[in-house]
Symmetry: C2
Subunit: 649 residues, 2 copies
């Protein structure tokens, strides 16, 4: 049964499995491991571990059945697929120097996968590559992947590769097991059915090194009972760092699998006392010998806070690629306005900014005599008009408001709002593109919300440049400036989703996305800044920025699948608004991050730095970004001339 | 006029150019440089070098014409395109820290390229990147390349980048200028219109370092007059190493361009004495001041041996990708037989092998009494039958020959041949696939020519395994063994040709190709060996080989676009036959090399080695290769399950 009921959480990580020995009696194996609310699934060997194809050929003349555990009929199809993950024989070694072992391994691997497919299992666990070299193993798995339907292959990867684990006598230094995974998946071309089962032991690498895995397709974490400590009462527990890691797995849909034998002597009287030292058997029906470990994992699960409402709302958007809006070219729909208008945090920030600006513009003694001209450019259905009027009320300043909006459909709503609220004497509605409006007077304050996830990507600079004509020389723009930020990320899920389109266009497009299964490899750095009003004579909104990212030394190597982009805007003086992670405005939901993919992921090794260029370019009818990596190796320039992705003027 | 008439040579490298200063009077520039049989073309600046867009904007109010040299009307369209290569202003620096210089550079570059396109010039010379970083320069050139029709862009690259040349104050070690080229072309995605003009100065890097360039798209070599030495008579000449390099350029269609001033004081009485030290002017119509350098280059050209006939014949095949034959699945055409039968060298080797085998099989004293049974399997139109009968005659041994051929069309020719030559009593023709023939007796000698460029790639192993049934236990197979070889190569032309198909299939196909513009980066290594007859019980023709290539230390970095493949076959004892470069049989033309591409080229840095896997795999109806690089970075496994390229059984 599931580890617990966490409100809002419907992810796979509620289910916990157990790794078992070979057992020909599969129904009994399920009963002993799954009964009495114990585990949800077993990770069980499918083939007699003593089987070797090369021995069969010599000793038997007739055709004998392969020594699989049970037969397809001993369980129902749904039992097979819901409760059994096939464990591929762990003795196989496709990169062995021993030619017979190599051939036996390939034959067995193919037979077992074929059997697992026959049973419609959801996943098979592939043993970890034995040495540093995995070329032939990957070649064989890659062949299998080409013909696989829905089954996932979980490649077992030790989180820490201990030295004696390595069969490669030539290994002169410790192997970063991520490198093995990386080679394997590159050889298999990031195949979406190839994922990772991490082996968790006592020692853990650094937090940065662990962090890399959250951008990879980890499906399971196999925790050995050896990794558990003993608490004061004699029960198994995990170190703080292990606990944090497990919680991370829960939050990233990684299923936990308990492995190993009972190694804790429990206090007397506990129902789960093991009757033998053999681990994986039931002790006379009293309960599962590994129950204390399962209970502890369930405790960790149940201890987590429920998902905040915003997170729950955004669950369906996690790592889902969306095309950015084109609000200048297209008109937004009512539903879109509806959603964004609910972001109260954002409008409170705007209201605070307008308050400050009004207080700066109009001294207390002029409050009753001076009327400030405030123009909302891109008024939509009116939320900024409301925020501005509330600011006026709050500060006791008098306002004359112009609400300029190019979408005639939103203008309909605006008229209704003004009538409903009785703002007719204060608010003038202008149905016009701000770039072409012939204003009857100039504004003291220009308020706009034209920012995209990457700040300028919805063409706020071009719009506000166009509106600046009717801002007084000493007028204020809210926002007064905004800056975009990027950071390199591992994002294998996003990479695979982009790749699935099989064209260059999708690799040269920026996507709006709720980043979740992503590893952020270095702190963000600022890219482009725009300031308003801009009175310089030779202004251009084209930009070029070269950035150099250094990964923390203890991260190890990592794969850069692209760049996560954010923005931060200064609305007025100290009032800011943004999604740059280190300074993000809390509880604001109007913007997800933006993701710039790389056509070929770039592997960063420790000590090497990543040099990337971003350009903002423009033509008569469009604005676009180009990007490219120049170090450690040069990538193609992405989106040359805006051929794949652009924003229309 | 051309440098000379070299029989068989029609390449561009016959034409020699000269780099000039800016001259507004283009017709005069042409007259002074091209008259009297001097140079064939000029590399001339198109824009007044004092022009800066940022100054124009400030100083002029109206619209003035850009200060181009001349106008489009001063030359005829064909003069422009035949005699002028546009030289882009050398002051441009698109990666400067100075924002105004950067903007001026981009504007000027685009204006000049636009002008050159307007004139339909064949090529423009782009100045060398100023520093180590060339991201913005590449981005801008890449934008230009997207919209270019037929014009080539020659990026100037110094063969040796001297330290003071570098504008980058942070450069801590000498820059390998190949790295700059490599970054630039990766950023521009190996664009086929982007090529190289190498700047040749006094010092030359190592031969291995120079060799890399022959796999790149070098179009011109600009030789500065400073690079010339002075011979005993006071005339300019070049060092032996320079001479060898220039000859290499001639052989690879690289055009020579002379640059610089007259720096040699010629002996009195010479017509080409310079009347001033200013270099690029005519000395009163007497001749071109740089004439002595041109004459020396022409001397080097004329000194070359004419192309051997075989080379001349193969000229049209150079670097041209051909799909390998499928002689087992398809029947060859008469024309194909015709071509291959002309390869006398090959059949002489076969005849020598059969002679040796006959002498070994039949002692002198049994020569008249013993008849040897020789079967030609895959007899085609009979060349091996003839070679075998000639061997019998030469050794005085008696033969009974079976000619087995599956192609019914070739069998028609065979019958004609036997009748014509009167071989009816000696030769039996069998119209049958050797794998299915029910032979009336067993053979002493089995002769075949089933080898492809990669040895086993036309399925010789499978065919001979099938024929082995009717070879006596002590019988001889000619060939008795064969081995394939590979080596990593730079081959940008081949890479671009494969890439032009815009699919994965072509990148996972091996091609037969006459390799020419290719840099061989490391000595060949053996891949798969097959031996016949093969009496082992557990024989399989599947193979797996892991190879590790080390580049010579003085090569520098280089790009691996794929692998060149060859074979060597032992016909019998010491008689071999093959195309592996170090042991290739001279004057044999039946086989070009084979080329296995890489989907993403891999850059090899000094000291790093290249680990590559090749697999020979088989299924019920086909045989295929898979290949993949595992170090320095992992590539995808190419051609998984033979999805893109296979040979039918």
């Amino acid at each position: 049964m599931p580890l617990g009921e966490r409100p809002g959480d419907k992810s796979e990580s509620r289910y916990c499995g157990v790794e078992t020995e070979f057992d020909d009696d599969i129904p009994n194996l399920l009963t002993s491991n799954l009964s009495f609310g114990a585990f949800d699934f077993v990770v069980a060997p499918m083939m007699d571990p003593s089987y070797r194809p090369s021995l069969v050929h010599k000793n038997s003349s007739g055709s004998v059945a392969l020594p699989f555990a049970g037969s397809d009929l001993v369980l129902s199809p749904s039992q097979w697929s819901r409760h059994v993950v096939g464990k591929i024989s762990s003795w196989i070694d496709l990169d062995s120097e021993d030619e017979i072992l190599r051939a036996d391994s390939e034959t067995t691997l193919k037979q077992e996968i074929s059997w697992a497919s026959h049973l419609s299992l959801q996943a098979c666990l592939l043993p970890a590559p034995k040495g540093k070299s995995c070329g032939n193993y990957a070649r064989c798995v890659n062949q299998i992947l080409q013909n696989l339907n829905n089954m996932q292959l979980w490649l077992r990867i030790p989180l820490v590769k201990s030295e004696d684990d390595s069969m490669d006598v030539n290994s002169d230094n410790l192997i970063d097991s991520w490198e093995i995974w990386n080679s394997f998946r590159l050889l298999c071309e990031h195949h979406s059915h190839l994922s990772i089962a991490l082996d968790i032991l006592t020692s853990l690498p650094s937090a940065n090194s662990l962090g890399r895995w959250f951008g990879e397709s980890v499906r399971a974490a196999i925790i050995n009972t050896d990794a558990f400590l003993t608490n004061a009462r004699g029960y198994p527990c995990l170190s703080k760092r292990h606990q944090k890691l497990i919680t991370g797995f829960f939050n990233h849909s990684v299923q936990i699998v308990i492995s190993g034998k009972l190694v804790h002597r429990l206090p007397k009287g506990n129902t789960a006392v093991a009757s033998n030292s053999d681990g994986n058997n039931v002790d006379g029906g009293q309960g599962h010998p590994l129950r204390p470990y399962l209970d502890y994992i369930a405790y960790l699960y149940q201890r987590m806070d429920p998902l905040p409402e915003q997170e729950r709302f955004e669950l369906g958007y996690r790592d889902f690629l969306q095309s950015p809006l084109q609000p200048l070219m297209d008109n937004l729909e009512a539903q879109t306005y509806e959603t964004f208008e609910k972001d109260t945090v954002k409008y409170i920030q705007y209201q605070r900014a307008v308050c400050k600006a009004l207080l700066d513009k109009v001294p207390e003694k002029e409050a009753l005599t001076t009327t400030t001209v405030l123009m909302v450019v891109g008024a939509g259905r009116g939320p900024l008009v409301r925020a501005s009027l509330q600011a006026a009320e709050e500060t006791g300043r008098k306002l004359r408001v112009y609400a300029v909006e190019k979408n005639p459909n939103a203008v309909v709503t605006l008229h209704g709002l003004v009538k409903l609220e009785g703002w007719e004497n204060i608010v003038t509605i202008i149905s016009c593109d701000m770039r072409h409006w012939d204003a009857p007077e100039k504004a003291d304050i220009l308020v706009s919300e034209l920012l995209g996830s990457f700040g300028d990507n919805e063409l706020s600079p071009e719009c506000l440049d166009g509106a600046q004509r009717f801002l007084k020389q000493d007028g204020i723009s809210i926002p007064s400036s905004y800056t975009s930020f990027i950071q390199p990320v591992t994002a294998s899920k996003l990479y695979n989703d982009v790749k699935s389109h099989k064209d260059v266009v999708h690799f040269e497009t920026a996507y709006v996305v709720k980043l979740h299964n992503v590893a952020r490899l270095a702190p963000t750095q600022p890219v482009f800044t725009f300031t308003h009003p801009n009175h310089s004579t030779e202004r251009s909104n084209d930009r070029h920025k070269k950035l150099r990212f250094e990964m923390p030394n203890d991260t190890g190597s990592a794969m850069v699948h692209g760049f996560a982009g954010y923005f931060d805007a200064t609305l007025y003086k100290d009032i800011h608004l943004g999604i740059e992670p280190s300074t993000a405005t809390p509880n604001m939901f109007s913007w997800f991050a933006i993701f710039f993919p790389l056509r070929t992921p770039i592997c960063l090794h420790p000590g090497s730095s990543l040099e990337v260029h971003f350009w903002r370019c423009s033509g008569p009818t469009k604005v676009w970004y180009e990007w490219g990596v120049t170090s450690p190796t040069a990538s193609p320039i992405h989106n040359s001339n805006g051929r794949s992705y652009w924003v229309g003027l």
